[in-house]
C-alpha cells in the first residue's frame, strides 16, 4: 500500500512543535534501532530514517528496472528459439521477468513512489538498472549463458535479500527466488545440450560463456573497498553479505558446474585460496563496468528506446481503460441515484 510517509521537514515550526517533532524522531529512531538489532522487519508505515527509505527506494526500483530491461535480450530470441519446447520455456521465463518487475515495483510503491514515476525516471535515463543487460545477446547460446551465469549471479544476490529488513522487499524476493529456480536450470540445460551437440554448437556455447563470464562477476558490484554504500546497507540488514564475499561464492559454484558442462571459464586465475578459504578470480575490467554504467555500453540507448516505445505506444490503451472505468463508475452512481429517487 503506497503511503506518502515522507519525513517532515521541521521548518517554521513553533518551538513546542519542534521539540515534539524531535521527540517523535528520537522515539522512531529508537524503535528502528531495536528492530535492526532484533533482526526483525520494518513495514511500510513504520518510522524509518530518511536515508534508509531513500536507499531502499533506489535499490528496489533499480532491481525492478533490471527485470524489465532484462526482458529484452531474451525476448529477442523468442521468435527464433530452435525448438518449440525451448520457445515455450523462454516465453515463460521472459514473462516471469515482467512479473518480477511488477512484484518489485509494488514493493517500492509501499515507500511512497508511484510506478509511473519510476517508469518515467527509467525512460528519461535518470534511473539505473543492472549494467549486464546493456550487452547484446548475439547467439542462441546466450540464452544458456544468461540463464546459467546471469541468473545464477542474480540468485546468489537475491537469496540473502529474502531476509532483507524491509518486509515488502523480502516478501517480493521470496516469490521471485522461488520462481527463478527454473531460470538458471533451463540456462544450464541449454548449454549442456549445446556442449554435447555438434562442434559448431559447442563452439557457440563456449563463446557465449566467454562473453558473459566477466559481466556476470561484475553484477555483484564493485570490490568491497570501492563500494561506499555497502557498509550502511549491511548495517541496515538490507544487504547480508559483501560484494566480494558473494562473488567469491559464485565463482566457486561456477567452477564445479562448468566441468559438468564440459566447457571452461575464460579465467586462468581462478583458484581456491586455502588460507582465506575463499575462491579467487582474475582481474575484472572495472573501467569497462563504469563506462557501461555511465551509458556508454553496447546497447544502452537501444534498451531504453525500446522501453520508451512500448510505454508510449501503450499510453492510449492505458488512458482508454482508465476512462472506461470512470464511465462505468459514473453509470453505476447514476443508476443508484435513480433507484433512490424511485424509492
Amino acid at each position: 500500500m503506497a503511503s506518502q510517509n515522507l519525513q517532515p521537514v521541521p521548518e517554521a515550526l513553533s518551538p513546542e512543535d519542534q521539540e515534539r517533532a524531535a521527540q517523535l524522531e528520537a522515539e522512531g529512531q529508537a524503535y528502528f534501532d531495536r528492530v535492526m538489532s532484533d533482526d526483525s522487519r520494518i513495514e511500510p508505515k513504520d518510522w524509518m530514517p530518511a536515508a534508509y527509505r531513500k536507499t531502499l527506494l533506489r535499490q528496489i526500483s533499480q532491481h525492478a528496472h533490471s527485470e524489465i530491461i532484462g526482458m529484452q535480450p531474451e525476448a529477442n530470441w523468442i521468435s527464433r528459439a530452435p525448438s518449440l519446447k525451448r520457445k515455450a520455456i523462454l516465453m515463460a521465463k521472459v514473462q516471469d521477468e515482467a512479473g518480477h518487475g511488477l512484484y518489485l515495483y509494488s514493493a517500492a510503491e509501499t515507500l511512497g513512489q508511484s510506478r509511473d514515476k519510476m517508469m518515467d525516471d527509467l525512460i528519461a535515463g535518470k534511473a539505473r538498472y543492472s549494467s549486464i543487460f546493456n550487452y547484446p545477446a548475439l547467439t542462441w547460446a546466450d540464452m544458456g549463458a544468461i540463464g546459467w551465469l546471469v541468473d545464477g549471479a542474480a540468485i546468489c544476490n537475491q537469496v540473502p535479500l529474502c531476509r532483507a529488513s524491509f518486509g515488502p522487499y523480502g516478501r517480493a524476493m521470496v516469490r521471485i527466488c522461488k520462481e527463478e529456480s527454473f531460470h538458471q536450470r533451463q540456462g544450464f540445460e541449454i548449454l549442456l545440450e549445446l556442449s554435447n551437440g555438434t562442434p559448431a554448437q559447442k563452439q557457440m556455447a563456449q563463446d557465449a560463456v566467454n562473453r558473459w563470464y566477466a559481466p556476470a562477476l561484475m553484477m555483484f558490484g564493485p570490490p568491497d573497498d570501492d563500494s561506499p554504500n555497502s557498509k550502511q546497507s549491511m548495517a541496515w540488514n538490507i544487504k547480508r553479505f559483501s560484494n566480494d564475499e558473494l562473488r567469491s561464492r559464485f565463482v566457486g559454484m561456477m567452477v564445479e558446474q562448468v566441468r559438468v558442462l564440459g566447457l571452461t571459464l575464460p579465467d586462468s586465475e581462478v583458484r581456491f585460496n586455502e588460507e582465506t578459504k575463499k575462491w579467487e578470480h582474475g582481474p575484472l575490467d572495472w573501467e569497462e563496468f563504469k563506462e557501461v554504467l555511465a551509458g556508454r555500453g553496447p546497447c544502452n540507448a537501444q534498451r531504453l528506446e525500446r522501453r520508451r516505445e512500448a510505454h508510449d505506444d501503450g499510453a492510449w490503451v492505458r488512458v482508454a481503460a482508465a476512462a472506461y472505468a470512470e464511465k462505468q463508475l459514473a453509470k453505476q452512481a447514476r443508476k443508484h441515484a435513480e433507484k433512490e429517487y424511485a424509492a
Partner: protein, 104 residues
C-alpha cells in the same frame, strides 16, 4: 492548454493499485499475495489471475483497492496491542492443575 490540464490528462492514464489475496486451496483462507495495477475491479481480478496464479497457486482470488484498506496506526503499536500481553488465563496452557486428566 494550461499546465493543470496536462497533469489531469496524464493522471487519468495511471491505473490504481490493488491488493491481491489468494486462496491456495479449498478450506484455507485468502492470504495477501501482492499488489498490481488495473483500471477496474474486473481487470484487477484478471491481472491477478495472470500474475499471481501462473503456477497453480490458487483456487480463488480477492482484489481490494489499496486505498480502501484501513490500517491500525503504526505509531500506536505499543498501546494498541498492549492489552493482551500478560493475560495468560486466555490460553489453555495457563491451567496446569488439570494436566494429566484425559480428554481435557
Amino acid at each position: 492548454m494550461n499546465p493543470n490540464d496536462e497533469v489531469s490528462t496524464s493522471s487519468t492514464s495511471v491505473w490504481p493499485l490493488w491488493e491481491v489475496f489468494v486462496r491456495s486451496s479449498r478450506g484455507l483462507s485468502h492470504v495477501h499475495a501482492g499488489s498490481l495495477h488495473a483500471p477496474d475491479a474486473a481487470m484487477a481480478l484478471r491481472n491477478a489471475r495472470d500474475l499471481y496464479t501462473r503456477r497453480n497457486e490458487g483456487v480463488s482470488i480477492w482484489v481490494v483497492p489499496a486505498d480502501a484498506i484501513a490500517a491500525s496506526d503504526p505509531d500506536a503499536k505499543g498501546s494498541f496491542f498492549e492489552s493482551p500481553q500478560g493475560k495468560d488465563y486466555r490460553h489453555a496452557t495457563y491451567y496446569t492443575k488439570s494436566e494429566g486428566v484425559k480428554h481435557l
